[in-house]
Amino acid sequence: MSETGDGWGWFSVKANAVGKFWSLFFVLTAVIIVIVSWFSPDWGWWFPGDGRAHSTVGKRIDDLFYMIMVIVAVTFIATQAVLGYVLWRGATIRPEEKALFSHGSHSLEVIWTIVPSGILLFIALYQMDVWAQFRIKGAIKDAHGEFVKPEPIAEVTARQFEWRIRYPAKGKPLNPKPQPDDIYTVNELHTPSGRPVEITLRTDDVQHAFFVPELRIKQDAVASLKIPVWFDALENREYEMLCAELCGWGHYKMKAKLVAQPDEEFDAWKERVSAEQFDDGFRKPAEEK
């Protein structure tokens, strides 16, 4: 293979260019990712709806998200810059230069073990309060930061492929067992707005997940369990309510709406639905005319 030498000669010339290419490639990729991420909220590539969280705990979850985002972004930019520099240096290294051999450096190992651990530990401790507010009943706060006891408003039963909802009659507490004056709806969960409420989540069949993206609330519904879910909807409007667990061929059909309304509207709505539900169909002849 006498030609091999020539071949490698060609390769070493090319290697220089290839090395530079990869250096620029990784730096440019990082630049593009940063630019796209920066503008993506403007293009609607960000959170659902208007991009903001509409519940107290949702806002805190978003804060956590953005904090982690900043840490990741800084790390990403730094590592990409280092990567680009190292590749460039390697591509433009002069034949007489010697590469620095750093493998097995004890101090480096210690640094990149302790720094990420420290960051992770910080995140783990920092988020505990948010987690508690999301998952521990005694730790739930309203929008003003006061501890409150969420009011149980409904039992939400997921089934293939719809949401069936049972409310207590107006002015009554939710009873775990169905009551004769309970109110039933399907695919439409009404809730008083502005204060933490509780729903009891169950499933009739397989595993589903209760998901209101704009409130940042997601909870699996597990067979045989009754799981309380706490949230407050801060604005009077309709929110999209979805199933977030692939539950079968009709999973996509499990789209419903969450209607947050002021207390008086909520009560009026309950009265209306109740009247409809207990309609005996009898109309006085005079009424028909």
Partner: protein, 516 residues
């Protein structure tokens, strides 16, 4: 020098081959290898069992009347809201010649959908019924109401002529909604045999009998638009029919029309098949077999009977008879007597269906209780329970002593409707031949709706297509039905323990004597 190879480098190793396959997969995916076959309406078995001539005629009739899923035909005589903006000519445009092809139009209601290119169908007047004059809207000015059509200039429509723009648009919208949301269970033809149907229990409804279970109408009537609308909106709890609450109002309405249309199509096919029963392969084979058996029997008895026709001959005869049935009897002067029997039969069926589906939406056919709900107290529930256990209603025979849906009737073998043959399995069956559990009243699930009036109507008119009979007007007074409603709706909240032995026995005896 760079090494050359006859094969590209990347194809010689394993990862290269993998890349090849991946590339193939991507190309395949992008070019749409996975596109399914075109949707087609399926025919009933009874259609497919007709002799070839009859089958051909049947398929032709269906196609002319209803079209295909891609090319719907709106048969005007059926009471389906096919859609489109109806209007009439208020005046021909002033100062223009007939060549202008413009009239002043008055639309009934919404004219926003009147856009250029919409099909324009003349219902009355000189232009009506002219198939060659397939007009479209060339221009419409909503301010001056000037409607210009593209098509022949003559004949000129006169003031008062009625027309409809965009006829069939609602049906097309209904089809789109149906294909997206309903088809995978209920099937393209509404036969309840879509791709996901086999995984469901209970089975999705087969519309083709024109029978729907949960209605507000009298026992003999079809389902009303409002009933279908409710079912689409709120679903049927306890079944796989989910709620389509978030479907828009227009979509829901149009899909209800499409379901009604599929039901009409299905029942039209069934009834016409029934009319053609003499021309089915089965019936011909049956007749030949019977004739042969008679022949053998007569021969044994010592008679000299005439030899019956062979199967092949019988088919030939049937084919000939069918020709007369379809095209009219041949008269002495070699002309045909028209209308033919088949034309008359099709006409009768269409008239019948148009009539029953019109009646379904007549307010007079909706069950309205004559008295308000009887106060839901212990006394009423007890009266209801006694009626439930009585021989007048025999509720308990199916729904069980305490409403668990496990009555003795579920253990019996039942006859198939219209024959002496028994179903192969124990238990009650519905009109579609599926095993049917009587409702378990302890669950508090109300498939036809949980309003008291819904339950009242179930008892008043029964549940169509099922063994649940209606008691209204005949066996029970409205007050008594309310008592049963009160009892039935209270079962859910009672203890699941059966009544004490003495109480149960005591009540049954007392009621039997009282009823007689």
């Amino acid at each position: 020098m760079f090494r050359h190879s006859s094969k590209p480098q990347w194809a010689t190793n394993a990862s290269g081959q993998l890349a090849c396959w991946m590339l193939f997969g991507i190309v395949c995916g992008l070019s749409g290898c996975g596109q399914g076959p075109q949707a087609e309406f399926q025919y009933r078995d009874s259609t497919l069992k007709l002799i070839p001539d009859a089958q051909k005629a049947m398929k032709k009739t269906l196609k002319e009347g209803f079209g295909t899923p891609h090319d719907l035909v709106a048969w005007e005589r059926f009471p389906i809201a096919y859609g489109g903006a109806k209007g009439s000519v208020s005046a021909p445009a002033e100062g223009t010649t007939s060549e202008a092809k413009t009239v002043t139009a008055a639309f009934e209601g919404d004219a926003t959908k009147v856009v250029k290119g919409s099909p324009l169908l003349w219902l009355t007047g000189a232009r009506a019924g002219e198939k060659s004059a397939a007009d479209t809207v060339a221009e419409y000015d909503a301010k001056t109401n000037q409607l210009k059509w593209s098509g022949s200039a003559d004949p000129v429509p006169a003031p008062g002529d009625k027309f409809v723009v965009g006829f069939g648009q609602a049906l097309q919208q209904g089809r789109a909604v149906y294909m997206k949301n309903c088809m995978h269970c209920h099937g393209v033809s509404g036969d309840g045999a879509g791709p996901t149907a086999e995984y469901l229990s209970p089975r999705p409804r087969d519309y083709r009998l024109g029978v729907f279970k949960f209605t507000s109408t009298l026992a003999a009537e079809k389902v009303s638009r409002d009933d279908l609308h409710r079912v689409v909106k709120y679903g049927i709890p306890g079944t796989y029919m989910p709620s389509f609450l978030l479907l828009g109002e227009a979509e829901t309405k149009s899909v209800v029309e499409y379901v009604r249309w599929l039901s009409v199509r299905g029942e039209f096919e069934k009834r016409t098949d029934d009319d053609l029963a003499d021309y089915s392969q089965d019936s011909i084979e049956d007749t030949v077999k019977k004739a042969l058996a008679n022949f053998e029997a007569a021969k044994k008895a010592g008679d000299k009977p005439e030899k019956p026709v062979s199967l092949a001959q019988a088919r030939k005869d049937a084919s000939q008879q069918f020709d007369e049935y379809q095209n009219g009897k041949i008269l002495e002067d070699k002309t045909r007597e028209l209308p033919s029997e088949m034309e008359t039969a099709v006409e009768d069926t269409a008239t019948f269906l148009a009539d029953v589906w019109t009646r379904a939406d007549d307010a007079a056919n909706v069950i309205v209780p004559t008295v308000p709900r009887v106060a839901d107290d212990a006394a009423s529930r007890e009266r209801g329970r006694l009626l439930y256990m009585s021989d007048k209603t025999k509720c308990y025979t199916c729904h069980g002593m305490i409403g668990k849906g496990d009555g003795a009737a579920t253990e019996d073998f039942w006859k198939k409707p219209g024959s002496e043959e028994l179903y192969p399995r124990r238990g009650l069956h519905d009109a579609w031949g599926n095993i049917l559990q009587p409702r378990n009243l302890t669950l508090g699930q109300y498939r036809g709706g949980r309003r008291p009036v819904d339950v009242f109507r179930r008892i008043y008119a029964g549940i169509k297509g099922t063994p649940m009979p209606g008691f209204g007007k005949t066996a029970l007074k409205d007050e008594e039905i309310w008592d049963i409603v009160n009892y039935a709706m209270s079962i859910q909240y009672q203890s699941s323990q059966p009544p004490k032995a003495n109480a149960g026995g005591h009540v049954a005896v007392k009621e039997t004597s009282a009823a007689k």
